[in-house]
Symmetry: C2
């Protein structure tokens, strides 16, 4: 049996399939013919000592791929890193161990931590296809995970990556369940908590479906893509940081699951709890404040849903040794004025600098969370006054600027060149603002890819407006994007509910 018979030259396809390895092979190539490979077949490719399992897409036309070559998607190419002119050996892979465990879960079995660990391992090694991962996510959604399983999954997700070790020190952390545009309290909370002398190594994410993540906003002011040694240096010196978690390999399987959950739009408490708590545990946190905004257009839509999520968070936290304080907050409308990376950074700096126009709602929310953390860090009851003092005295601002300098230098956010005001179409009182639609305007304007794009909110629920009064301003970096966001805004009169008093 000649191995060469099942080998093909390897080429980069230059196609991003979002971390799912795909191999493109010509329908007429001898390997497809001999192995009976069809589209969507899982194919094992060996190259030197490396190997990957990829999903086959069959090339039936065009002239970009010859019959003696196979092209690899970016994820497959990165996994194999073939030398120039390298050949790959093609074969049918053995089914991954995780496949039968996922099947057992689909068929109603409860999984152990070890079984979840096998799934994480095979997912990280890219031995599972997107369909396998979709089946796993589906089987875990909708009450599919009991508390014992949720604990097992959380531990397995943490164990699949690095865990930061801060010795005996008390490490604080915070998390917000999200869905509220402009609710960018983290940099302010970190500034206050570090000014108080506590340790808070904050690892944040970029936006997934929102106009800005904390990492996007922070990046307007300072570099966030630090590696673990660099992050450690900042935290050792200044007590805290706000860095991007994407490159740190803390709970790395979370990214793989999120990319499947996002298009399916499953709101699964079990996955959310495992995702949040595994990352906190991996970051070495010991005591964590979690903010759950509740509102009809927030991620958590009712008090009952918040209560169910809270009790699950608490049960899993206890099991993995995290101390938790949960804050249920008002999620009925955006927070602050800015929505989008630079506009949110401007709000944050106003609050830290105690500027006259600083958004009071953002300040209040940050103070509440900082107070809860200081209580957890130091002794209940002292937090609120201390938090206020640290903010009003400028100590928090100094701490924030030191952290930015240590992360690589501070930059003042800039305002976008193209702006347009959207005005009220009638007079009355604003009774509701749709978080999702206002976020969509900011995204269409270019956020978060374009840092200065977004929405500057000039009114809030409860405000009285006259017809023609400004409601919000759209900011964009190009005229085309400004037009596009404006057209969408004009098509959504229900985004702001304005009612005449009766």
């Amino acid at each position: 049996m000649n191995d060469r018979d099942h080998s093909l030259r390897l080429l980069p396809a230059g196609i991003d399939t979002y971390s799912h390895p795909v191999v493109y092979m010509h329908a007429d190539c001898h390997v497809c013919q001999a192995e009976g490979f069809q589209a969507l077949t899982r194919v094992r490719i060996d190259c030197g000592k490396k190997w990957v399992i990829a999903t086959l897409n069959v090339v039936t036309g065009g002239d970009w791929l010859s019959t003696d070559a196979a092209a690899l998607s970016n994820a497959a190419w990165d996994a194999l890193q073939p030398a120039e002119e390298a050949w790959g050996q093609f074969s049918h892979p053995d089914p991954p161990a995780a496949a039968s465990i996922i099947r057992a879960k689909v068929y109603g079995e409860s999984l152990s931590e070890g079984q979840f660990g096998t799934i994480m391992k095979d997912a990280l090694a890219r031995r599972l296809s997107d369909l396998d991962l979709a089946a796993f996510v589906t089987a875990c959604a909708g009450g599919g995970l009991d508390i014992a399983e949720n604990i097992g999954l959380t531990r397995a997700m943490q164990a699949a990556g690095e865990t930061l070790d801060w010795g005996d020190r008390l490490v604080l952390d915070k998390h917000c369940v999200g869905g509220l545009p402009g609710n960018r309290t983290t940099p302010i909370v970190v500034a206050i908590v570090t000014a108080a002398g506590h340790l808070i190594p904050k690892i944040s994410s970029r936006a997934i479906t929102s106009p800005a993540g904390t990492a996007d906003t922070m990046e307007v002011m300072t570099p966030v893509a630090l590696d673990i040694p660099a992050m450690r240096r900042v935290v050792e010196t200044h007590g805290g940081c706000v860095v991007w978690g994407g490159g740190l390999q803390l709970s790395p399987v979370d990214d793989l699951l999120i990319r499947i959950e996002r298009p399916l739009d499953f709101d699964s408490d079990g996955q959310l709890v495992a995702s949040v708590l595994s990352k906190k545990a991996a970051a070495g946190a010991k005591r964590v404040v979690i903010d759950i905004p509740v509102g009809p257009t927030a991620k958590v839509r009712s008090q009952a849903a918040a209560a169910a999520l809270s009790s699950r968070l608490e049960a899993v936290s206890v099991a993995i040794g995290l101390e938790l304080t949960i804050q249920i907050s008002d999620g009925s409308q955006p927070v602050g004025q800015g929505i989008g990376p630079a506009l949110e950074a401007i709000d944050i700096l106003k609050v830290l600098r105690c500027a006259p126009g600083a958004p009071a709602d953002l300040r209040d929310r940050a103070l509440t969370l900082a107070r809860l953390l200081l209580d957890m860090g130091g002794g209940a009851g002292v937090g609120l006054n201390k938090a206020k003092d640290l903010l009003d005295s400028g100590a928090a601002e100094r701490s924030f600027m030191e952290i930015c300098e240590a992360q690589g230098g501070f930059s003042e956010p800039k305002v976008a060149p193209h702006r347009i005001m959207i005005v009220a179409s009638r007079s009355g009182i604003i009774t509701a603002i749709d978080n999702r639609r206002i976020a969509r305007v900011a995204k269409l304007a270019g956020a978060p890819q374009r840092a200065r794009a977004g929405v500057l909110l000039l009114t809030h629920s409860g405000d009285w407006v006259q017809r023609g009064d400004p409601l919000f301003e759209i900011h964009a970096e190009t005229p085309g994007e400004l037009d596009y966001a404006r057209a969408y805004a004009a098509s959504q009169p229900a985004m702001f509910r304005i009612e005449e008093p009766t």
Copy 2:
């Protein structure tokens, strides 16, 4: 707002993604930038009056795609059929109605026939992604479908396609649950049943994971890709046919679900029942015999599993107005001698011609099923003698040849040019043959793509062999494939269990 701002030239990518529409767009194209499209985003593409929703793959390198163009996978191209130099408009699609129904199912709700119908409609219109379909299939697996839902799904699958109308006539049909190599009774059963004067318009499938489907085997002897009018003409004149169902649009959503279930390897009774019975109902069948082979390496592995499947088949049949007879048969080893399209055709012709070397097991199984159908068609008890008479008298053979002529002409199957004998490595009694591994040898030899490739089985369980005696012969159309199948066979000594008498 200028629509041209969100348009790109459309090109064929020439990539087969197995009926999943995919669009390839350059990372730097203005539409990706402005819309914030990322890999795996679902994208709506309008072209003239046609539109399709495709999954985005982002092209990050190479020079085959420019930034002002988008390339379409075969499925996306077929859906839009763009004129030369046509432009497509790109936008975010509204979520399909089926997405929230699938979510409800995942969260434990029971679905109605109407809700299943919405899922079928959106699946057929390619508005659902592979991830959506995987979530649906997962939620329905493992006892996820109660009987009422199974009935609803079956009806919805049937309603999503054509249904053949044979007037008041009694239409018979048969189905085998599968997994048994060489168990190709259908052409013989159709020959006997039509010779008896009954109506049996048999619609068969090609192999999905096996070395041959009935359509593949039949195609060795006669054309099978008939359209509905042509098939009708054959059946009206000769009482029956054996055609390929792939192009007939009977229960068309079945193909979409099978392509997701196959890589997930879910053995879901609910989906199997809906798949089989929706197709029988769509073919206009009234009374159906279902053969369920049971064995450790067959599809159904235990009597308990067969009983559960049978009771579900019966409950759904009653609800949709099908009369069913279920035959549980021995599935412990392959049937007949041939495995692979031409080799199985040779077995069939030997049985029909009452040749001296005709495999008795294939003959017996075909007679049993024909007897059950004749009993259902005519009156219990008369079937077996009548079936034997029709076969032994040559009436069944004549009927078969007439059907082949009517389908487009008969061809005698040919034997492959490259063959090698595999012999017993020890003496003893054969106590087991692994259906799955012997099927794999046949597939590696080229079946079903190469019609003459496969395995000729020379021994069965219970046979005594001496070391060096032939066990089976591998047939291939090329020396390379012969080598490859032989190497696999050599690596699998457990394929035949040979035990010394104690």
